[in-house]
């Protein structure tokens, strides 16, 4: 049966989410218990179940409030089907360029086999990169905003192509009226002054990889020679972030943030988030590793510990805010009133139908994680998409078509999780990776709690 509501408790706050409207209600304990029975039609059952514990008048008063929410479509709102605004065929508006399938680090959990993706180590030529821009312009049709992510491996190892493609894309903006948002994900080893200046001058958004505490980072992110990377990259990240403050940086529409990975070895990852914050970084993200058959993998047995740790992280996050030294943690950000539309929530990441990855040789894959998984090769930038079944299959692999997703309360928040992870664990993009789901659901509860508490605080301050 499709979940219509979800409820949870944290720190004595009881929260009720209405799945199909997205309404979030902070409720008292009595209503929290009533919702175990109440289905919108059975008031007398609710009273009978709880009248020994609560005064009947209170129960009836609360039932009236629940019915009022139902009238406003904020409780048990009708199920959402695929809307007409969800186009049958996707429009590719975003590409990932694997500019260097090579890396100067050897992170132990790397899904790209140290940058090579199971292929020969190689870098993308400027010709392939520019041809990919042409491909994007053609495929994006009427979409104005397009995205180009320079990825690897380590993209700073191939600045020749990064620079050539950027110049080409900027020139094409003028010709076509497109607006390209450029992003780079880097490990920071080569983030020297010249590269920082060039990335700043060209309005790149940056995702900087760091795993938190020095000992955690260095154990997982050594260089080719086995030496830790922390001291070198933190020095570079500090310089880079300092160079992006003040002036017009608030208005350029680019972001710079640190992202890290936690593994089975650091389930006390709140310390890693706080370590990054203490080092002077305040836009942060930390994600669970996704690995199969590895000593670093998060296992089902780890889940209770992981959930506890997110509770700890929420409390630390709120405490820092209270002390006036708050930080931005990606997964606790959520706009409960102006989130994405239903069509976007069904499209999800868009892998294979709105987003594709271009391998260094020009081969096309549904996303960067699929690079090297031959079964999923879509074609190449020279031939276009020749395997048309996959884009359509990915397009239709949304939450309402996945048996395990369509009944789940988080279906409109997680969009069914990562296809590449589903494929890794089940060989089937329509069967989600369960541990990822469990962690995602916990993070969503944390985000909803944080947003609800911030809203209550705002209302209190406004009298």
């Amino acid at each position: 049966m499709k979940a219509k509501i979800h409820k949870f408790e944290h720190n004595g706050q009881y929260i009720l989410l209405d799945v199909n409207s997205g309404a979030v209600h902070v409720i008292d304990k009595m209503i929290y218990e009533m919702m175990d029975t109440f289905d919108g039609t059975n008031d007398e059952n609710v009273v009978a179940a709880l009248k020994d514990r609560y005064p009947e008048a209170d129960l009836r008063e609360a039932l009236e409030e629940l019915h009022e929410l139902m009238t406003m479509n904020q409780l048990f709102a009708p199920d959402i089907d695929v809307p007409p605004t969800f186009r049958q065929t996707g429009i590719i508006k975003s590409i990932c360029l694997m500019v260097a399938q090579d890396c100067n680090l050897r992170c132990k959990y790397c899904f790209g086999d140290g940058g090579s993706y199971g292929q020969e180590r190689a870098v993308m030529t400027p010709e392939v990169g520019c041809k990919a821009i042409d491909f994007l312009i053609e495929k994006s049709g009427p979409r104005k905003h397009c995205e180009v992510d320079f990825f690897g491996g380590e993209p700073l190892m191939n600045m020749k192509t990064v620079k050539a493609v950027t110049a080409y894309a900027r020139a094409k903006e003028k010709e076509t009226g497109k607006k390209f948002k450029l992003t780079m994900t880097t490990n920071g080893i080569l983030l020297n002054d010249a590269n920082i200046k060039w990335l700043n001058d060209n309005d790149f958004s940056l995702v900087l990889s760091l795993d938190g505490r020095k000992e955690v980072n260095d154990a997982m992110r050594p260089d080719v020679g086995g030496h830790g990377s922390y001291d070198r990259i933190v020095k570079n990240f500090k310089k880079c972030i300092a160079s992006r403050k003040g002036g017009d940086w608030d208005y350029r529409g680019v972001y710079t943030y640190l992202r890290g990975t936690y593994t089975h070895n650091n389930l006390d990852f709140t310390k890693d988030v706080l370590s990054m914050h203490d080092a002077g970084f305040d836009i942060l993200s930390l994600e669970p590793v996704v690995l199969k058959d590895s000593p670093y993998a998060i296992t089902e047995e780890d889940l209770p510990r992981v959930r506890e740790e997110y509770d700890r992280l929420v409390d630390a996050y709120m405490q820092c805010r209270k002390e006036g030294r708050g930080f931005w943690f990606f997964h606790f950000n959520m706009d409960l009133s102006n989130g994405p539309c239903v069509a976007k929530r069904l499209s999800g990441c868009g892998a294979g139908h709105e987003y594709v990855a271009v391998a260094e040789n020009g081969d096309l894959y549904p996303c960067h994680q699929f690079v090297g998984r031959d079964k999923y090769k879509l074609g190449s930038i020279f031939t276009g998409i020749t395997d048309t079944k996959w884009p359509q299959y990915f397009r239709e692999s949304h939450v309402l078509n996945k048996p395990k997703c369509r009944d789940c309360w988080s279906r409109f928040f997680c969009s069914g999780g990562c296809h590449a992870n589903a494929d890794l664990f089940h060989g089937n993009i329509r069967e989600p990776y369960e541990i990822g789901c469990e962690i995602q659901k916990k993070r969503l509860e944390c985000a909803i709690y944080v947003q609800a508490m911030q809203q209550l605080e705002k209302e209190e301050n406004n009298g």
Partner: protein
């Protein structure tokens, strides 16, 4: 209301009819890259 405080103005139902412009940012669902789940995004409109 005495027992319930609604903390948002939910828009999900209304976007069934109004959404789909597609101008929003791509949202990687995995544990890598920009790693944004759609739930963490805002509408660009």
């Amino acid at each position: 209301m005495k027992h319930i405080k609604t903390v948002n103005k939910p828009s999900l139902q209304s976007t069934v009819k109004t959404g789909g412009c597609g101008e929003c940012q791509a949202s990687c669902q995995s544990a890598c890259k920009t790693s944004c789940t759609v739930g963490n995004q805002v509408c660009e409109k």
